[in-house]
Amino acid sequence: MRKKLLCSLIALVLLGFAVPIAFASSEEKAPEKVVGGKMSKYLPDQIGEIPVPSKRWRIGCLEKTLINDFWLDMKNGYEDAEKEYGVDIDIYAAPSEADILIQKQILDDMIAKNYDLICVSPITDTNILAALKTATQRNIPIINVMDAYISPEAQKKHGIKIASFVTTDFAENSRLATRFVAEKLGKEGGEIMHIMGLPGGRAAEERKRGYLEEVAKYPQLKNIGVWPGDWDRKKSMDIAADVIQSHPNLRAIIGANDTTGLGAYQAVKNAGKTNQILVAGIDAIPDAIRSVMNDELVCTVPFMQYQSAYIAIESAIQILEGKFDPANREIWVYQEVWHKGNIKDKVAEYKEQFSGLKDF
């Protein structure tokens, strides 16, 4: 009885493993015709020509998770680049953004597979340092894509070599939004404010810095202050409502992200000042895109996560083919402002790349 039971249990477990084999084998592709040997699709001026891969390089990509649009967009970016350039890419991710240890263990396992190169998006600044050290010891080149950043000091301390860091400049996000608003206000200018994210976080602090730098370039703009909205819609709305009361001549609000901007816009609407005050957001979430289309938010700045992943693979090929220019140790992905005038075209252009645009 017991033997039978245990036998059947084991059989069940093994049967369970047969399912992924079926999946895995169906995913294996015949080698495609190699294209390549052309200019980078998104950053031709900065990183230049991508050589034709001399073989089907095996690249392992570790994302934070796959449970929201942002990381799915990156996955699309990796996979489109895989098809375009004829390399083999495997994508890994932790079950959730809280699984910091699991992400490290996944990277340990990826290293066991001897990839030619590994792209990582660490969940925190330190959670995968130990595994990256092993990768460096085994001479696997590493590309750090987006977000948590393995600083040169951390690299030195832990014996890690990051070949290239592909990311978006948070400060540039808010510089662009501020510049757009400044130009919209023209010579007249006026009072402007920033509602920042949760103080202390990199994105929040960098976007605040970008705002302050940009405002300083326009003498006609008067910065009346930066308030912490903690990325929260309600809190941002309350702050905006208070400031509108105390500064009746306020002309513009730069939100640290779309949620913040949408909260602020609600306050402007409640005060009946939509004609006087311009509100900008950042990130291009679907709500914000709708809002820009409806002439509410004046602009938003998309994050370009798809492009980051795509560019990471282009950079990977350059590294693997020995055509990498060390000047590109840090690659800043290009950015653009989406406003009423161009947003319809932009949505059409990026529809295939960003999951959030599917419904437009």
Binding site: L66, I106, T126
Partner: protein
């Protein structure tokens, strides 16, 4: 005589041994990257955190209890020890403080459970939340970086093989002695087997229950040292879910019972190895994380079913003896 012992041992554990061997063979035959020294070491390395937490958990389970708060205790003692280290305290003293904090959390758990006769599930669930809250409050929600080299080298360095593997072997050996050779191990099992008979035999039940949760807290704090050394950072979110779930799953897969009365350290080791092997194998196989969750869950459920069948059979055989 000796072969008789080996035979009994094998008969008791052949199911999980066969499972582990089967899984390993399966992955080994399907991927050239599986049976490499690096990867086998990896699996051992990944087992350490689960196994040390599980060492505390087996005694809790043996007494018929459960400790859901070990993950949070791991997170909080990590943060607390990091703050103490950062204040310039010598590493040894800081580690002792960390262990003290872990023991204190366990003592609170045990005292509430023993003195108020409450369900361990509810008490430790509450503690899970309280201690996680403390971890977030003390760290402001942000990781604390950078510890003395001697600390990180001791708990997650590399001397031939990762030092946490040596440490785990020592702890498991210790746990095995406590479980099989000491009164504490015996009492823990007897409380889970039958609290009434344990009481009649003169076991100081409240004291033993408190000690059981204290040692669980201590093991959680030792785990936190390894965790923070691996990352060179104390993360307030460390041990949020997977770690403590596996700390409960490993003993159960290994043949410890949720209703108490049993301790099998060997089974727990195999249970932890099965979990780490499956995880690593699936990663090497390139199976998406969503499917992995599914398989791990499947294995846990199968083991719990096996556990319940085992219990029914042992109850039946007991009744047969009585009649």
């Amino acid at each position: 005589m000796k072969t008789g012992y080996v035979f009994t041992f094998l008969r008791k554990h052949w199911g999980i041994i066969a499972t582990l061997v089967g899984i390993s063979l399966f992955f080994g035959l399907s991927s050239q990257y599986f049976f490499t020294f690096y990867n086998l070491l990896n699996i051992l390395n990944h087992t350490t955190i689960t196994l040390i937490l599980a060492m505390g958990m087996v005694f809790v389970l043996a007494s018929g209890g459960i400790d859901l708060s070990v993950g949070s205790t791991l997170g909080f003692t990590g943060v607390a020890t990091a703050l103490i280290l950062k204040a310039g305290t010598p590493p040894l003293l800081a580690a002792l403080c960390g262990i003290g904090i872990g023991a204190l959390i366990g003592a609170v758990n045990g005292t509430i459970i023993a003195k108020f006769h409450l369900q361990p599930f509810i008490v430790t669930l509450g503690m899970l939340s309280i201690v996680r809250g403390l971890a977030l409050v003390f760290s402001n929600g942000k990781p604390i970086y950078g510890f003395p080299g001697i600390f990180t080298t001791f708990f997650a360095g590399h001397v031939g093989i990762p030092t946490n593997i040596y440490l785990t072997i020592a702890i498991v050996a210790f746990g095995s002695i406590v479980a099989n050779k000491t009164r504490f191990g015996l009492y823990a099992k007897s409380i889970g087997g039958s609290e009434a008979s344990a009481h009649i035999c003169g076991v100081n039940i409240p004291l033993i229950v408190i000690l059981i949760y204290v040692q669980s807290g201590i093991f959680a704090s030792i785990t936190s040292f390894i965790y923070m050394s691996m990352m060179d950072a104390a993360e307030p979110l460390a041990g949020l879910l997977t770690e403590w779930l596996e700390a409960i799953a490993a003993p159960i897969i290994g043949g410890n019972s949720l209703s108490g009365g049993i301790i099998t350290i060997f089974g727990t080791i195999i249970g932890a190895l099965i979990l780490a092997t499956v995880r690593s194998g699936l990663n090497i196989f390139g199976v998406q994380p969503f499917y992995q969750q599914l398989f791990i869950g499947l294995i846990i459920i199968i083991s719990v079913i096996a556990d319940s069948i085992r219990q029914r059979r042992s109850r039946l055989s007991r009744e047969r003896v009585v009649t």
